[in-house]
Amino acid sequence: MKPPRFDYHDPTTLAEALALLAGHGDAARVLAGGQSLMPMLNFRLARPGHVIDVNRLDALATLSPGPDAGLRIGALVRQRTLERSTLIRERCPLIAQAMPLVGHPQIRTRGTLGGSLAHADPAAELPAVMVALGARLTVQSARGPRTVPAESFFVAALTTALGRDELLTEIALPAWPARTGSSLQEVAIRRGDFALGGVAATLTLDAEGRVAGARIVCFGVGPCPVRAADAERSLVGGAPSVSGFAAAGQLASAGVDPDADIHASAAYRKRLVGVLTTRALAESLASLGERAA
């Protein structure tokens, strides 16, 4: 099928874009990379009266070092740019690990970080990665800017804390903590497909080699990214170990309540979370060694 009729706007300044959203918010959809909205238009699952194309907002397409060794990523930065960036590899290995699993290369050339977050597909990698990293999202409207922690940005499947007149403009990431490894694990039927389930993890050790902290975030097994808080707590203070990672996997598995669909049963997905959590923790530890080496 083909997209329905809509009024097309391609503002060149943020102020212009926000004014359009203020005027048409209820009837408008924001077009960023278009890798989710365009299929919905082609299938007429979305019939917005107005499409506000933000691709000319060059100011939102910059990737830069943030204060205190963090990162500031404009919402319009392409996924392919993140994948190729040495700054990302140095300052945020978890994003570099996730990127090859986000769609296909031909999708990542257009797909944006902000678009993936604002679309909030339950099986998408990037929302979970942002929760694992403790990202802070800058959201702007004609009423002014506000900051939303990633953990409260994802409200339900395909639903975020964004108001109708608001635009996600920037993602701020804190500095990568010392002695921290990370991993992203998922199972998909075919490479590049949305995952049946996945886990993003970071593991931080203290100077004595004990676990100082961990972040474990599951995706594809609930309406939003699910933080495995019990599993995270179970690791803190102990030495990293195969048995500790296995126990954390069981806690993570117990903490999710996935749905079944044509691809996998709920029981399969629940078990998958445990296996992938254990694997992600082991890989995080291994990556820590590689980083130190």
């Binding site: 365009m38 090859p100 290369p105 257009r110």
Partner: protein, 169 residues
């Protein structure tokens, strides 16, 4: 705001102009207006890869870009690969030699993805070739012939697909 817009872009090195309805996708502009029907339309939701073309050198889905978004861009399609109507380029020739083509529906998009990938990395190994092909569905060949074709191209030492026509020298 307007229903239709005038756009100017470069297609396979040639400057082109068109008046398009804003809801027209790039692949429909290429096929219906410019009659470049080597780029095929499959799923229209970015999964099958048949409509893949290069925009400013990057492989993208032609069904997921509006034609108006190609304003001022350099677009390359499968029609731009062969040096002249009587000859194939080295990648196309290896596809024929290694049975990388059967019905041909997916072929145009796959050749364009591989062209972009080979410009990035002229000597890909098999996993990298497969990663590029993963963005495409082929229901005939089983992909092996395509992998063999690219490996043969690399082994032959033939120059990789040249820089895209519009890029700065």
């Amino acid at each position: 705001m307007t229903e239709a817009r005038d756009i100017a872009l470069t297609v396979n090195g040639q400057p082109r102009r068109a008046r398009v309805e804003v809801r027209t996708t790039l692949v429909d502009l290429l096929r219906d207006t410019f009659r470049l029907t080597g780029t095929h339309v499959g799923c229209e939701h970015g999964v099958c890869g048949a409509c893949t073309v290069l925009v400013d050198g990057e492989a993208v889905r032609g069904c997921l870009l509006l034609a108006v978004q190609a304003e001022g861009r350099r677009v390359e399609t499968v029609e731009g690969l062969a040096p002249d109507p009587a000859h194939l380029n080295a990648l196309q020739a290896e596809f024929v030699r290694h049975h990388g083509v059967q019905c041909g529906f997916c072929t145009g998009g796959i050749l364009m993805s591989l062209t972009a990938a080979l410009r990035d990395n002229p000597r890909p190994r098999e996993p990298e070739i497969r990663d590029t092909l993963a963005g495409h569905l082929c229901r005939c060949t089983g992909y092996q012939g395509m992998v063999d074709a690219v490996l043969a191209l690399v082994a032959s030492g033939a120059p990789a697909p040249g820089p895209d026509a519009g890029s700065a020298p």
